[in-house]
Symmetry: C2
Subunit: 304 residues, 2 copies
């Protein structure tokens, strides 16, 4: 818990409830009064447990703030979550459409609907709220939004609408290869060799097929030449991001790209895109998510 | 234990000792008298344990066949194995060069050296013996040898020499994605939808970058359209093999490809290559490995 401002009582609570974590912010309008987080993510909870986990976590603030509404985004709204918040189809306004959790007596709880694309099939849940937060800060933004992470999203945003999007499993592939494949003997997961990242990224973007054949060379290079584990990790990161840029080239070419993600990951994407002449803008994750949840909270009167 | 012929005593014992398994064959010349296997692979053994594991496994035959030599290939010869059998550099004759394990009193034990390629870096250990087995059966083979598996090898074999080779992590990637990624919810690991395999393979070979972007579509297609888990598994298999064919195109184009692998996997590669006009020949794993170990055994007089 970080106490930022406890002079005022909150009038709503923001929640980012993903697969692995629950993050809560006590809010007064768009001001953060206090925040907390725990590892009670959707992945470890049964539907009947979400309500008591939420109340127990709020009670950790030393009060139950009974009746104060919660506005949540993320996997809490999936079929395996608390209450399914159905996907809305593209093209659509990313600004949150909320459903209300039935039968939770302590307070009203609202969950943002995810977004689906039917052809090619794709889904997002949580990112739509971050994109709504970007629009709250930059209403006229027109271009591509990239949200790097476990399943990085590339989103074409035009005239306030999500036209289409593309998910890439880059973050998950990096984790699997770096921690669970034969490359785990070879990689230091904290790659910081930027020239190695740059070179691998250029190569993979120019020739993604060849990059596939070079994954095992990271292992062989370590066995034969003692290839440095830090450089190997940077090289794998560059290969996967280069590959992803090749897969999404028709999305980002000629556009400004807004990056919503952790500073470290966003910096790598900015670097890779910058090398291809693409201008990027940074939208840090937390304030952007909160701006999107705030915009959703403001719609509550209109909630079904 | 499968008793095939116990009338005769063996004059040598063949061993394929990999990361996960130890496979033993009691041999008289090139005739298999009996075989057995256990899960005491290199991955779970310390160097000091290999000798007693080997003797205990041989003793399961009801005799210790003391003094009868063992000829082994595979990860038993790696740095983490029993005794390191150093890599030989390409170009080189795949026919085994053996090192003898020091200080094993019960019998002479010989291990085949692996092969390395310095640029681009690559290694094999065990496959060289299978390729030697292919040459024992087809001395004039000129073309490409493909050994599909966890780390599939593509090997240019000319005039009895391995000129160069390329490893692809296709088998390991399939395992990681099918069992440990978000796709695990979506895939039945026994994909048998051959039209789905064919289509994905063609697409990935034609446009490997796009295939990268379509991995997550397997998950989204299951969520939105109830995409069949069996077809999804076949599609992932086709995507990865198509990608691998794109990465190795300069190796297999215009050549005959000899396939050394399990019948199921070899059939998928034969199908994918056949669709590209490439003729394939099957060399089943066990007899080919034994032919290579037999050729190695015949060289023992020349062993250092």
């Amino acid at each position: 818990m970080t106490a930022l401002n406890t002079d005022a009582a909150p009038n709503w609570i923001a929640a980012d409830w993903g697969t692995t974590h629950l993050r809560l912010w006590a809010m007064r309008g768009n001001e953060v009064l206090s925040k907390r987080s725990c590892d009670q993510g959707m992945g470890r909870l049964k539907p009947a447990q979400f309500g008591s986990v939420l109340e127990a976590e709020i009670a950790q603030w030393g009060t139950d703030w009974g009746g104060i509404p919660v506005v949540a985004c993320g996997m809490v709204g999936s079929r395996q979550g608390w209450t399914e918040a159905p996907y809305r189809a593209t093209p659509t306004d990313p600004r949150a459409q909320l459903i209300r959790v039935p039968d939770h007596a302590a307070r009203p709880v609202y969950i943002a609907c995810g977004i689906r694309q039917d052809d090619p099939p794709d889904v997002m849940r949580g990112e739509e709220t971050q994109i709504a937060g970007l629009l709250a800060q930059s209403p006229d933004f027109d271009g591509i939004v990239c949200l790097p992470g476990t399943h990085t999203k590339w989103v074409r945003l035009r005239a306030g609408q999500i036209e289409r999007f593309q998910s890439c499993m880059t973050g998950e592939l990096f984790e699997l290869l770096a921690k669970h494949s034969v490359l785990r003997h070879t990689l230091d997961t904290d790659g910081s060799d930027l020239p190695a990242f740059d070179a691998a990224c250029v190569e993979a973007l120019a020739d993604p097929a060849r990059a596939y054949g070079e994954l095992f060379a990271l292992r062989a290079g370590a066995l034969l030449n003692g290839f440095d584990p830090n450089s190997a990790a940077s090289r794998l990161s560059g290969m996967l991001i280069g590959w992803e840029l090749a897969a999404t080239r028709d999305l980002w070419t000629g556009h400004t790209v807004a990056l919503i993600g952790s500073p470290k990951l966003a910096a790598l994407y900015a670097r890779a895109l910058g090398a291809n002449g693409v201008e990027t803008q940074d939208y840090p994750t937390e304030p952007t998510t909160l701006a999107g949840l705030h915009a959703a909270w403001q719609t509550i009167g209109a909630c079904p």
